[in-house]
């Protein structure tokens, strides 16, 4: 993890009047699994397309391995892309698709074939080489696109929401495989996604985007536990913010504070066990349960605080059933969490 694979300096892009990317400074290290996370229209895909060379920046500079590539064409950059809709060549077989980058580089045919087969084996598609992309399922096409981009061993692999079109089960399976593959080949992966859970589970580091700007860069734990803006606090994980008067009354100071739902424990208002616990280390708040959402393995309680505002508390259904938790609706409860889980959000 020494050296930097990609460095962006004040990168900008506008399409006519609209600003897609408004000045990004970012360093992605060698061998990292790095995610660009943000809602649609936040500029993350535009940043990726500028790194690939499909879009020319309006301003700023892009460096790949220390070399300025800002004005270079896509075919002059040592990066390959896995497209959202795979972009496989429909008139070629799977093998020809995978071998394309090698053919372009005039690698001899025999070697091409060996390396294409090896790349297909890496993504567990041995024996599919003679088929056409149209004869494969979505998940298989995804793997072919991956093999095609990896076969030339680029310095950086760019992935543009590659799992977006897959169903949930397949997506979870591919997340694990993708992460394992990245560890195996040791190539820097830059992964664009709008799915915060995906970013948290797969990444070494995450950059959170909103409206063409960087909100926060950090490890999944930093992003989740210590969000530095209210946007990050609400976009990553469930939004649970205490602001203004409510913050004053619950936390004791003015400002914006974030508490993750799973850190909050819920009990009846009069519960001894909770109120008696080591006082100064804890924050408590009383309120009324407005809504109970049964999720199977856990339950989400939406609680309207007497102090104002609403907090969500998440409880594992260790001993409770659906009927048990439903009975909470409309009851008075006391919420308690450790003081260190109250995170001050600077802006």
């Amino acid at each position: 993890m020494e050296g930097s694979a990609i460095r962006l300096h004040d990168l900008r892009k506008s399409f006519g009047e609209t600003t897609a990317v408004a000045g990004i400074d970012l360093e992605i290290r060698d061998g990292e699994f790095f995610s660009l996370l943000g809602p649609s229209g936040s500029g993350k895909t535009t940043v990726l397309r500028m790194i690939a060379g499909f879009e020319t920046p309006t301003g700023g500079r892009i460096e790949l391995a220390g070399q300025d590539v800002t004005g270079l064409a896509p075919f002059e950059r040592d990066v390959h892309t896995v497209f959202q809709d795979y972009a496989l060549f429909p008139h070629m077989t799977v093998e020809q698709n995978v071998a394309y980058a090698l053919k372009v580089r005039k690698v001899p045919k025999a070697e091409r074939l060996v390396r294409a087969r090896k790349a297909l084996a890496e993504v567990r598609l041995d024996g599919y080489g003679k088929r056409r992309p149209g004869q494969l399922s979505g998940g298989q096409r995804q793997r072919v696109a991956l093999a095609r981009a990896l076969v030339g061993r680029p310095r950086v692999l760019l992935l543009d929401e590659p799992l977006g079109a897959l169903d949930l089960k397949l997506r979870e399976q591919m997340q694990v495989e993708l992460k394992a593959l990245q560890r195996e080949v040791g190539i820097t992966f830059v992964f664009v996604t709008h799915d915060q859970e995906e970013a948290l589970t797969m990444s070494d580091r995450i950059a959170v985007f909103d409206q063409g700007r960087l909100e926060q860069v950090g490890t999944p734990a930093e992003i989740y536990e210590r969000p530095v803006t209210s946007f990050v606090a609400s976009f990553v994980g469930t939004s649970n913010l205490l602001v203004g008067e409510a913050a004053q009354r619950v936390v004791g100071t003015h400002g914006t504070f974030s508490v993750r739902p799973e850190k909050i424990r819920i009990a009846e208002e009069s519960a001894e066990e909770l109120t008696d616990a080591d006082g100064p280390e804890h924050t408590t708040a009383v309120g009324t349960v407005a809504e109970v959402v049964y999720l199977g393995d856990s339950t989400r309680f939406l609680v309207d605080l007497d102090a104002g505002g609403r907090l969500t508390a998440l409880q594992q259904n260790l001993e409770t059933s659906a009927e048990d938790v439903a009975a909470y609706r409309g009851t008075r409860v006391r919420l308690r969490w450790q003081r260190r889980h109250t995170v001050h959000v600077p802006d």
């Binding site: 499909f54 394309y100 372009v104 580089r105």
Partner: protein, 296 residues
């Protein structure tokens, strides 16, 4: 009373509609009977009559058709050198016209489908199609004027020390190319327009420069549409006999032979007419292998 009659009428319609709804085969049958009759009796039937009459003969004094089964006409077709020459010439003209159309249409379609600004594209397509709305004869006579001695072609080529092709085989190929060009541009334009942009991105991303992307991605994906367009240009050229009369000088194509035999020797005309039908069937079979028929 009238109201009652109306509701009764509506009831009948409803019952009928319901009955039809429950019998999808009957519905389909009623829907398709007329067009199927048209296709079977008028279209395929006339082809069959053509083929059968090709085996009849003519009384050489009275020019009356003798309905006696004989393969004399086909024997004559295969053994007369003139017929063979004319057939080869006609196929050659059709192939040359198709090739020229493809060569001209590809860059044109590339411009209209991918280079021109999107808001101009429909207008450009309309401009390419406009000549199809003008009369065929007017266009051919216009070409006769262009190619005439001292005409536009001569005048434009004069500064280079050249002269126009005059009337003859080249003039026929040129005029037919002009006539059928829109039939070639349109399928290629559609194919290029539908070519996903991210395939071009993917090719560049994997290291291919423009020419390689064109050869390996654009051309193979558009080729079936070129073949589809050539089905039109080829069959239209093969069946033409008017253009060649107007700008072809003394040149004869199959169509002219059919035309000149119709009065005096109808069975021979029928025999000659089976030639383009057979050639086009062969051409379609060849084009089917390129995937052209699914991109029509």
């Amino acid at each position: 009373m009238t109201v009652e009659a109306q509701t009764a009428g509506r009831g009948t319609v409803r019952r009928l509609a319901g009955a039809l709804h429950r019998r999808p085969r009957l519905r389909l049958g009623l829907l398709l009977t007329a067009p199927l009759l048209w296709l079977a009796v008028l279209y395929l039937g006339s082809l069959a009559v053509l083929f059968v009459s090709a085996f009849w003969t003519t009384n050489s004094f009275t020019s009356e058709v003798v309905k006696v089964w004989s393969t004399d006409n086909f024997h004559e077709l295969f053994t007369t050198p003139v017929y063979r020459q004319v057939i080869l010439r006609s196929v050659g003209v059709a192939l040359a016209v198709s090739l020229l159309c493809a060569v001209i249409a590809f860059p044109l379609a590339f411009y209209t489908a991918r280079v021109a600004r999107p808001k101009w594209r429909p207008l450009l397509v309309v401009a390419i199609l406009t000549p199809l709305w003008a009369s065929y004869l007017v266009k051919v006579y216009a070409w006769r004027l262009i190619l005439s001695e001292g005409g536009l072609a001569d005048w434009m080529l004069k500064p280079f020390g050249l002269s126009g092709p005059g009337y003859g085989l080249p003039a026929t190929v040129l005029t037919l190319t002009y006539l059928w060009l829109p039939y070639m541009v349109l399928p290629i334009h559609t194919a290029l327009e539908q070519l996903p942009a991210n395939l071009l991105d993917a090719s560049a991303d994997l290291g291919a420069r423009g020419w390689r992307t064109f050869r390996s991605v654009v051309l193979p994906m558009v080729l079936p549409s070129v073949a589809a367009g050539s089905i039109f240009t080829f069959s239209l050229s093969l069946g033409d006999y008017i253009t060649v009369q107007i700008v072809g000088g003394k040149t004869q194509l199959i169509g002219n032979l059919v035309y000149s035999n119709i009065e005096l020797n109808l069975p021979m005309a029928a025999t000659l007419a089976t030639v383009p039908v057979a050639v086009i069937v062969l051409y379609l079979l060849a084009m089917r292998r390129t995937g052209a028929l699914s991109s029509l």
